[in-house]
Structures are given as C-alpha cells and as structure tokens.
C-alpha cells in the first residue's frame, strides 16, 4: 500500500465530513496560530532587547556601585543605592596604559533626576553627566547638531545633548538646537539631538560630567565607569583585572563582597538573551496547552470516525488489508487533519503576529525555525493523538466489523 493511496483514502474521508473536519482542526489551528504569534512576538522582543543591550556598547567592561546589606545598623538598601558612588580617582587608575594596556577608551557618568524645562514645557528627566568619550563607547548616533567634546568637558561647558524622546517632550516641533533649557535652575544650551535607539537612551539628557559635578550634584564621584577594551578577546581579562583593582582600592577583604559590580557587555547580552528566551518559552508553552486540547479533540473525532466506519474497516480487512494498513490509514487521516490545521494555524499566526506588531508597535520576527517547529508539532499531535483510535481500528475483528450496523 503506497503513501499516495493512503493520502488519497484519508483525503476522501476528510472531504466526506467537511464541517466536522473544520471544527475538529479548529483546536489545532488556534493552538498553532497562538504558538506562532507568541513566538514571533517573543523573538521580536528578544531582538529588541539585544539591540538595546548592544546600544550600551560592544567590548565594554562596566563598573557600577551596588549596595550590600551589612546588618541592622546600616542604612536601608534603597538609601545605599542612592548614595553609593564610585570614586573619580579610579578613572586615572584605569587610564594608566602600563597597568591596563587592554583599555582603549574610558568613560564615566553620573546620573540624577531633575526637572528639565524649556519655556512652559517641563519634565522630570534623568540627566547624565558623561565624559565625551561615552558617546563613542556607546556608539551613539547623532541626529542633528554637534556633540560636546573633551574641550567642552574641560571647561565645564553648560551644553546638553538630548535623546530623541526628551527633545520631543520639551520642544515638540521646535528645533531645539541652540535653545536654552533649564536643568534644576541652571541654564544649558542644547547642542545636539541623538537618533532614536531605545527607550532608555531616547529619554536621557547628556551634559558634560564636569558640568554635572560643578553645577548640579556637587559631588566628584561617578555612578558608572565604562571601559572599552581594545579587542573582544581581552574583555574578560580586563574585567578580572578591574575587579582585582577595585577590591584593592576599596580594601575589600578576601571572601567579602565589595560595594561595586563589574560586568561586561557580553554578560549583559547573555543575561538578556536568557531572560527573553525564558519569556518566549513561557509564552509558547501557554499556547502549547491549547494544542493538547486540540489534540484531544482530534482523538475524540477519530474515535467517532473509527466507530462510524467499522463496516468499512471490516470490508477492507476482508479484501486483504493487514492491521498495519488499517493503522496507517487512520494515522494518516489524523496527521492530515492536524497538518492542515497546522498550516492554516501558521498562516493565521503570522497574520496575528503582524497585526499585534502593527497595532502594538512591537518588533515581530517570524523565523523559519518557528514555522518548522509548528509544522512538526502538528504532525506529532496527529501521530500521538491519532494512534489510539487507529490502533482500535486495526484491532477490529473482521467478522464482527462486517456485521456491524
């Protein structure tokens, strides 16, 4: 018995019960559709997050202060988090080319939230005092104007670079370049606007670190130091050396944890990748539950089909069909049902994904892998849930089956 014959027989029998076939496969259609839509949204989110992480710069080693709980007499974790800063002298240490030959560029920033206003428009924005090198390290893309440089930094220039969202919020349609904004009562001139990148970057206001220290915070410390390594291969070495140096600098005892953490751009990428893939898997699993429900529907209808066609099975056995042939016939029928449902589901899921993307403004990724996965899952459901009914059909006694009314 050839596969062609099997497909033909199965197709005939599915066509004979069109409405039933459509209703039965609906479960699979919805399940596969949901899986595809969820995967496309999930994978899209993953890509967006990875892009954002990449926006933090490649081959970088970052140092941020963290608060460690030291006992009941210490300040609350939240307070520590606000207060903790990194000593600015560290910048000179890492700039030492003899001790840290791996370092290509050093940047630092100090951030705080302030009311930023232009004429009557005001917003609470996070203002970052940054070294000019940080634009380079973060691969910031200039939209208009000119970024401030090391000279501006040296002379504590009161200039500001706005993220695209920040610019929009303060200026609406006006051209911000050359306009004066007010940060916590201090006047800064807008010199540049950055291209949209990610929510975090788009909402920030960058001013020279020196200006931040002098006019706004009064502190000489920084809230983050970013080192760019010369090469990808030395990133991990650099991270280890930086960690050792920090322990030394802050006199952290062996086995104790310092008030800082060191991480590389790769660490963040891996973390983001893990988090988003967990998210994607979770979404797909929820959708997968509907597939099980759909599979039970298939099993149910196949059992009905076997009962209805008992006489046909008896006849086929009488004219020489072996058990394997009957098993194959009904398995093929259920696989065909789930495969058709799967294909319709894929089309529907792609459509749904695109719709969600368009309405919600998400990035959508429809990967070949997810389509291949959905196709094999639908075939597998047909095999798994079709097996028991097909087995029952194959086991029928031909005499009793022929006599069945």
């Amino acid at each position: 018995m050839s596969i062609r014959e099997l497909v033909k027989i199965s197709w005939f029998s599915i066509r004979a019960n069109k409405v039933r076939a459509v209703l039965t496969t609906l479960g699979i259609v919805i399940g596969i559709g949901a899986v595809i839509a969820m995967l496309s949204v999930g994978q899209g989110a993953q890509q967006v997050i990875l892009e954002q992480v990449e926006g933090l710069g490649a081959n970088t080693v970052s140092i941020i202060p963290v608060a460690n709980f030291r006992g009941p007499q210490s300040r609350s974790t939240f307070q520590q988090l606000l207060v903790n800063r990194l000593d600015k002298r560290l910048l000179e240490t890492f700039a030492n080319e003899v001790r840290f030959p791996e370092v290509e560029q050093i940047g630092a920033e100090l951030s705080n939230s302030y009311e930023v206003s232009y004429r009557s428009e005001a917003a609470f924005l996070t203002v970052y005092g940054v070294s000019a090198s940080l634009f380079d390290i973060r691969e910031a893309e200039l939209d208009r104007g000119q970024l401030f440089d090391a000279n501006d930094e040296a002379r504590q220039a009161k200039v500001a670079v706005l993220g695209s969202q920040a610019a929009q919020r303060l200026f609406n349609l006006d051209d911000p370049i050359g306009k004066v904004i007010n940060i916590n009562g201090i006047k800064f001139t807008v010199v540049a606007i950055l291209k949209p990148k990610s929510a975090g970057v788009d909402n920030r206001v960058d001013i020279p670190l020196t200006a931040m220290s002098s006019y706004l915070t009064g502190s000489r410390d920084v809230s983050q130091i970013v080192l760019r390594a010369k090469d990808e291969s030395v990133v991990d070495t650099l991270a280890t050396k930086v960690e050792d140096e920090l322990r030394d600098f802050y006199h952290v005892a062996e086995g104790k944890q310092g008030d800082f953490t060191v991480f590389t751009s790769q660490d963040i990428q891996e973390l983001a990748s893990t988090v988003t893939s967990i998210f994607t898997t979770l979404l797909a699993s929820i959708a997968g539950i509907s597939l099980i429900v759909g599979g039970i529907g298939i099993m149910n209808i196949m059992l009905v089909s076997v009962t209805e066609r008992t006489k046909e099975i008896g006849l086929r056995k009488a004219v020489g069909a072996k058990q394997s042939a009957i098993l194959g016939q009904f398995l093929m029928e259920s696989v065909l049902l789930t495969l058709i449902g799967g294909i319709i589901g894929i089309v529907l899921g792609v459509g749904l994904g695109l719709l969600v993307g368009a309405v919600g403004g998400f990035t959508i990724i429809i990967s070949l892998q997810s389509i291949a996965l959905a196709t094999s899952v639908s075939v597998a459901i047909g095999l798994v849930f079709g097996f028991y009914p097909a087995y029952r059909a194959a086991q029928l006694n031909p005499i009793e089956a022929l006599r069945y009314e």
């Binding site: 014959e5 008896g314 006849l315 086929r316 056995k317 009488a318 004219v319 020489g320 394997s324």
Partner: protein, 228 residues
C-alpha cells in the same frame, strides 16, 4: 484426489471454550471442494454455515482440524498471512454489497489491489467490469446504481485478484427476484468460465443454481449431493 482445491479435515470451531457458555459451532467437518465447482452451503440459522463460510474465507480460524487449500494449511497462518490469503485467494460477495459509498465504481473494484501488488490493476478492473457488464458505469457512485448493478460491482471486486474461490454470502438476499435471477445467471457464467464458487444461502431456489448442495445442521455436514 488430484484436483482437490479445498480439503477440510475434522474442522471444529468452539466459541467461549471452557466457559459456562461454551458453544460448539462446528463439530468436526470433513469436506472436499474441487477446482471449478459451484457449491451451495445450506442450513438454517444457527446451523454453523456462517462459521463454516468464515473459516473457508479465512476470516476466522478453526479451533482444531486442517484446512488445506491447494495443499497449504490455512489454519496455521498468522493474521498477516491470513490477510494476504484473503487478498489473493478469496473474493467475497456480501448480502449487504459493502461498497464504499464515497468511491466511484472503478475505485471500489480496485480496493483489493491496494492491499496486494497487482500490475496493470486499472486494466484488470476494466476487464472484470466488462465481464459483469458495467464498464460504462466506471465513474458512477454506488448510490447512482440499482441494487443489481451494485452487486455486479461487488462481484467485479471479488474477481479482480483472480482468486481461487469466490465466496458469496446470500448474494441475492437484498435483491428482487428478477434481479436475483440475473445475478445467479452471472455466477453460473463465471463458474462456466472456470471459477470455483461457494455460495451460502438458505434459499432453495438460489441453491438450485449450484452443482452441489452441502447441508449443514447443528455444526455438522449432514448431506452433500451433486445436483447436476
């Protein structure tokens, strides 16, 4: 016997063996059917004639005894071999016709060929359809045919594998007498062409077409006589 096609030796069939409701359907049947015979098996219901037919058609296996077809012991076959035996050696014609309603006449006739290797299956199907006079109805559905035509299609289906025996179980039971006569004439013709036919019936008139009548009662063959 040089040309014995079928030889049954002390065939018994016991249902629900060793249980309270044990039922002995066949109590030691000895029977020989030669190549080219036209045999009618007769008997009232409960006589065991259906059981006998099922065993002859390899739908069932005997509890004990030997069933030889051209020297091969059918009783020893495994289920898969029995399926193959039914496919190659037996052509069934049923009282209920048992055509597949969704398939056209040609596909119905071709049904046995999908379970066994047959070369030029379609050519053969057209040939047997011509033999039963329905080559022009090849693309019709069973529900577009008369009862007699439907049974002719079933006969064509029984012929397509060129089986050793044609088993007909009350083939005219659902037909009017005129059509029944036509169908029996077709069986006579097929027998004349050399086919071995075993007919199961309780109808004396139908049995009269056969050359030999085998009477079964209470699980035993009580009479086997040549008529013609």
């Amino acid at each position: 016997m040089p040309n014995a096609l079928i030889s049954l030796q002390n065939i018994t069939k016991v249902y629900n063996r060793d249980a309270d409701n044990e039922y002995r359907a066949l109590k030691g049947v000895d029977l020989t059917i030669d190549e080219g015979e036209f045999v009618a098996i007769m008997g009232p219901s409960g006589s065991g004639k259906t059981t006998l037919m099922n065993i002859l058609g390899a739908l069932d296996t005997p509890t004990s005894g030997k069933y030889l077809l051209r020297g091969q012991n059918v009783g020893d076959l495994h289920p898969n071999e029995l399926a193959e035996f039914r496919n190659k050696q037996v052509g069934f014609v049923f009282q209920q016709f048992n055509l597949l309603p969704r398939f056209n006449v040609l596909d119905n006739v071709l049904l046995p060929t999908i379970y066994g290797q047959v070369s030029d299956a379609e050519e053969k199907a057209k040939l047997v359809l011509a033999k039963v006079g329905l080559e022009h109805k090849m693309n019709s559905r069973p529900n577009q045919l008369s009862g007699g035509q439907v049974q002719r299609v079933a006969i064509a289906r029984a012929l397509i594998m060129s089986p050793a025996i044609i088993m007909a179980d009350e083939p005219t039971g659902n037909l009017d007498s005129k059509t029944a006569t036509e169908i029996m004439a077709l069986f006579e013709q097929l027998n004349f062409e050399g086919n071995t036919i075993i007919l199961v019936t309780h109808d004396e008139e139908v049995a009269d077409y056969a050359k030999r009548t085998i009477k079964v009662r209470d699980g035993e063959v009580i009479n086997s006589r040549k008529q013609k």
